[in-house]
């Protein structure tokens, strides 16, 4: 921080930074981007960040057409989107991880279940068996619950097809297989949580930071059978299986340096201050190594040493 405070006035003296930086993309990242925009304006009073958060799918075309240089996405670009970008710009876009997210599975608060294996997750949500050959689960009894619970059928809730959560769940938990068709797809993560909280036989999944007191978050068992809750430590270490980075794509030619506005933006996002916003929004901040790697990839100056960041 102290070093940053020293550097900033110098940069300002060299060229007073002003202008509007446009961003198009994910609604998951919408809140984060807005917060970062406010902080960016606080650092550089003449800079505005204009956030258009209408979905991850809107970022690639806007980036490819050159309508924006910064695009937020809660999933990586597909090959087709990448190919389209390369075809128009002549080089691949740069993906900058800005935060970590994880998929959480949860049940009604009264449900005695505490953890699931990944094979059970596939059997609960998939029609195909691309990861494992677990049998279909119809009732909670099949998951080892007894009493009244054994007879209850399982109702499944999830996010809509277009969301990054859906895509990640499909790739990681179903091994690219197909979802069951009777999964209730609700628009918005909070709708999923609310629905699960109101039905004792329900199970659902969303990103981090949505679950409420109405539902109970389940731990996932890793390869050794140890249940792992999606805590910050488990997400950072990758011991919780269903984690993903949230990305900001930037249009940057291989031999080019970041323009001043983008530079200021990423300098903020990939700083302790920017990462504190991530934690406040319910996501997981990048671990230091990944933060440093991301800064290196953008040729940003390395952060001040650990002693500085931990002192404030």
């Amino acid at each position: 921080m102290t070093l940053g405070a020293l550097l900033l006035p110098m940069m300002a003296m060299a060229a007073p930074l002003s202008g509007t930086l446009g961003s198009v993309g994910s609604d998951t990242l919408g809140g984060l981007m807005t917060q970062w925009g406010e902080r960016l304006s606080a650092r550089h009073p003449q800079v505005r960040l204009q956030v258009q958060a209408s979905g991850s799918g809107t970022a690639p075309p806007a980036l490819a057409e050159g309508a924006t240089r910064v695009g937020a996405m809660s999933r990586p670009m597909t090959e087709a989107e990448r190919a389209d970008f390369i075809a128009r710009q002549g080089y691949p876009p740069v993906a900058v991880p800005v935060a970590l997210d994880a998929l959480t599975l949860f049940v009604h608060r009264d449900n005695p279940l505490t953890s699931l294996s990944l094979a059970q997750v596939e059997a609960l949500f998939a029609d195909t068996r691309f990861c494992d050959q677990a049998p279909t689960l119809r009732r909670w009894g099949a998951l080892g619950l007894d009493g009244d619970w054994a007879k209850r059928t399982i109702a499944r809730f999830g996010r809509n097809t277009a969301s990054g959560s859906h895509a990640l769940f499909k790739r990681e938990a179903l091994c690219g297989g197909n979802f069951r068709r009777d999964i209730n797809e609700l628009p918005g993560s909070s709708a999923v949580v609310a629905a699960v909280g109101r039905s004792r036989k329900a199970i659902g999944y969303t990103g981090l930071g949505y679950p409420t007191a109405m539902v109970k978050v389940l731990a996932l068992r890793d390869d050794e059978g140890t249940p792992r809750l999606p805590t910050q430590a488990n997400v950072v270490s990758g011991r919780y299986p269903l984690t993903r980075p949230l990305l900001v794509y930037v249009n940057l030619a291989p031999d080019e340096r970041l323009p001043a506005l983008e530079r200021a933006f990423f300098d903020l996002v990939l700083s302790p201050e920017g990462q504190a916003v991530v934690a406040r929004q319910g996501f997981v901040p990048l671990p230091e190594a990944r933060l440093a790697a991301a800064r290196r990839a953008l040729r940003l100056p390395p952060l001040a040493g650990d002693t500085h960041s931990s002192s404030n």
Partner: protein
Amino acid sequence: MTDPSTDPPRPNRRLRQRLDRLATGVIAASGIGVVVAVLAIGVYLTLAVLPLFDGAEVEVDTAPSAADDDGAMHAVWLADDGTRWLTREGQLRDAKGEIATLAAGATVTTVAEAGQAQPLALGLSNGEVRLVPRDDQGRLRWTQAATLRLFEARGVAALTLHHAAQGWVLAGRDTQGKVAALWHTAETTRRIAVPEAAEHIALGHAGRLAMTQGTQLTLWQLSSDGGGTPLARTDTQTPVTALSFLQGGRTLIVGDAQGGLRRWRLSPDDTAWQAAETSYTALGDTAIRRVIDLPRQRLWLALDDSGRLGLYQSLSGQRWHGQAPEATPPTAVSVNAHGTQVMWLGATGTPQRLAIEAAHAAVSPATLWMPQTYEGHADAEWRWAAAVTGDEEPQYSLVPLAWGTLKAAAWAMVFAVPLALGAAMHSACYMSRRQRARLKPAIELMEALPGVVIGFVAGLFVAPFVERHLAGTLALFVCVPLGSVACGWLWRMFSRRMELRLPPISAGVGLIVPLALLCWAALSLSPWLEAWWFGGDLRAWMHQQWGWDYAQRNALIVGMAMGLAIIPTLYSLAEEALSGVPRPLAEGSLALGATRAQTLWRVQLPAAAPGILSAVMIGAGRAVGETMIVLMVTGNTPLMSPSLFEGLRSLAANLAIELPEAAVGGTQYRLLLLGALLLFVFTFVVNTLAEMVRWRLKRRYRRYGGDA
């Protein structure tokens, strides 16, 4: 009020005339504007949808050649950063010069690739394999190639590569048909010797190896600890001449000696072959020489001995056919990461570039409307599951969505039509003018309720309530109609005696109290009924008895919620039609001694039938297009069940869910707009028909002396 008899001063009259003309003009312009806007929406949707049905195309051009081309090239790659040439002697060049030598003392015989994340493998004439790793951007690191030994004595004749858990699997065939494989994980690389000879090999997912010898098609399971077991054997009838797994490694394309092309799939449990019912359109009758998998969209190329080339999609079949750049089979073929360009190196040594334009090849009338056997499924099904990552098999059937739309509309009509028509008949034919003047606006006011509100309440409160009190709710549906008929009959029995003592309210209002009592009785008695008849759990009983599942968000709830939303439209149009029936007709009938019920049934209803029909049509049009209620009340599950207790996904709700994140211009985007176009056409046709019926009805009423 001005007196019309006094002539206004001249300038005033001119002004009025001018204002009148202006008003006429504005109204006409607005009307034309509306028509133009509607047409423009139709035209826009059509234009956005048309590219879906553009044919696919393969264009051939001569690729840029190496500066010092000596005619001994073995393979050519197109990378993001330029073209690479590989000579038979293993020298790799780009436009600037030599980069690396990959085959010291041997020649390159074959090349295998498996996408952007896996290394590239070169098979050499001395039995070795060179592996070229990739960096995290997917670029090949030619100078860091590693050498592995696959065969001791003979050279490598064919190679196939596929990713596996934490690594990759590579299988090769030597010049004598012996097969061996390498399984690479983070820790080790193990060699697996397959004790069976093969003419053609192909690797699928998780170590599934397809091998053919004559008409024998075998499936082997390789394992990461160095072993292998045969899983299944099949006879293909005709000798196999070409073999390739498609991306994902679950679909195998088999070309045979008579030009036949067939699809074999791994069974859902990955242990057997599952033949497709239909084979692909053949190119000709000569043997298939090569099957080339193009990543993305399950596209592939087939080449036969006569130099015919065809572009196929795994589900939609043949998309293009024509002539290959050279009649002889290519020595090497390389496909770019996106499956849009193929570098083709034939006997002449001049590389040819094939540009493949097939953006929406996965869409055909058959894939949209016919059931398909998708990877990982045993049976043909209609499925809608838009591609998410771009690598999986797209499932683009509009049937579940169309089904969901019609199902939701149908159940909504089941709820709304009896209620709305009953109310319309009652208020048009039985109520006093004063009562009607109060009731009609009240019902029409319901139309002002936003769909979101109805959806929210129904989804979050009614759906859980009905789930808890299913027996009670169903009892309501039986008790209320029967109960009201019974009440009506009782009323008739006792009305003579009661008439004097009760205040002069009509039978309809008097029904409210007994109906409320009935509802209460049905709800409070149903737990006992449920315990008595259905063993305490109606839902479990339904599953046992009929195999019906109960989903919390289901067609019953959407029927009630959407029914409520369309009742005002239906009621108000039907009421208008009924009360518009010329009074002389009804009065004549009553005068001739018919009862009110007879008059209603025999005179007023037939006369108003076209109007009621048009009311029903407009109501159905609204139900089909309704978005928010369906979106919030159903679970948006693209099922194909007629069950009242299961969910559905409608075209309109699907549009609302998926359009915001669909890649603009992509297949999914255009298919969503196709759904929109279908909805547009449906509502347009239905509403136009309904308006025509209404218009003719008005003319008929006027002829009978009505005032409508």
